[in-house]
Amino acid sequence: MTVTAGWYMTLGAALFSIGLIGILVRRNALIMFMCVELMLNAVNLSFVAGGRAWGSIQGQVSVFFVLVVAAAEVVVGLAIIVAIFRKRTSANVDLLAELKG
């Protein structure tokens, strides 16, 4: 039984799908953010596995950039959640409906 890059990429696809389903199903902004992290990690896994299959380091280099973007996103996103919470005392995204016509 040899584990090819395809196996890891399938695992990545499964993690990405779960993350996407989580974003669509959940209402808690924090958990939606965790699902975004899940999707970013799934892509990282594909990068690493693909880089190994190709014999190239570029996959791992790409992971670093995804990681930095994820860190920046978490910093700004959590600051937004806290700012909303101070106004609303809730992290439920369905309550944010001011733009509704």
Partner: protein, 174 residues
């Protein structure tokens, strides 16, 4: 063989953690599930010879990002009263179909013959992700994107501070 066993175990733990994130009522449990997934992925990176990426994964994700998440969960309180009933009819069904379709597409692309897209001259022996090899690429070929990420992080930090300190009418909150 060893890699096969490890893959099965780690795939199970990472998928279990991911399901916990989506299903858990308590945000703390969701965070713990995400932590399990992140650690499983770190071990998978080590199997794939990405040693530095695995270390950074644990330090940045399991260390910094998860600490930040838990800090915010504790700060705004554990909200277990989330209403998970759907307001859009049949949304759950469409979500399920979409998720399964995405999984099938990704799996088919990954396992199928289309994965053999090897273009031209590529080394096929795996490259070990040591600090030297990664830094050699990062500071030569990828130097400009690398410097741009520094700018991105600075902007993100400044944005977070601005969000925390300024109210809507522009005055600084004490």
């Amino acid at each position: 063989m060893v890699e096969g066993i490890l893959f099965v175990v780690l795939a199970a733990t990472s998928l279990g953690g991911a399901m916990t994130v989506v299903m858990a009522r308590n945000p703390i449990h969701a965070a713990m599930g995400l932590l399990g997934t992140l650690f499983s992925l770190a071990v998978i990176y080590i199997i794939n010879l990405a040693h530095l990426v695995a270390a950074v994964q644990i330090i940045v994700y399991a260390g910094a990002v998860m600490t930040l998440f838990l800090f915010v969960i504790m700060m705004i309180g554990v909200d277990k009263t989330e209403d998970t009933s759907e307001t859009i009819p049949r949304q759950r069904l469409f979500i399920g179909i979409l998720g399964l379709a995405l999984l099938a597409l990704g799996g088919a692309l990954a396992i199928g013959d289309r994965f053999a897209w090897t273009p031209g001259t590529v080394r096929t022996e795996p490259v070990e992700g040591t600090i030297e090899i990664l830094a050699d690429r990062l500071f030569t070929e990828w130097l400009l994107p690398f410097e741009s990420t520094a700018l991105l992080l600075t902007i993100a930090a400044a944005g977070a501070i601005a969000l925390a300190f300024f109210s809507r009418d522009g005055r600084v909150e004490k």
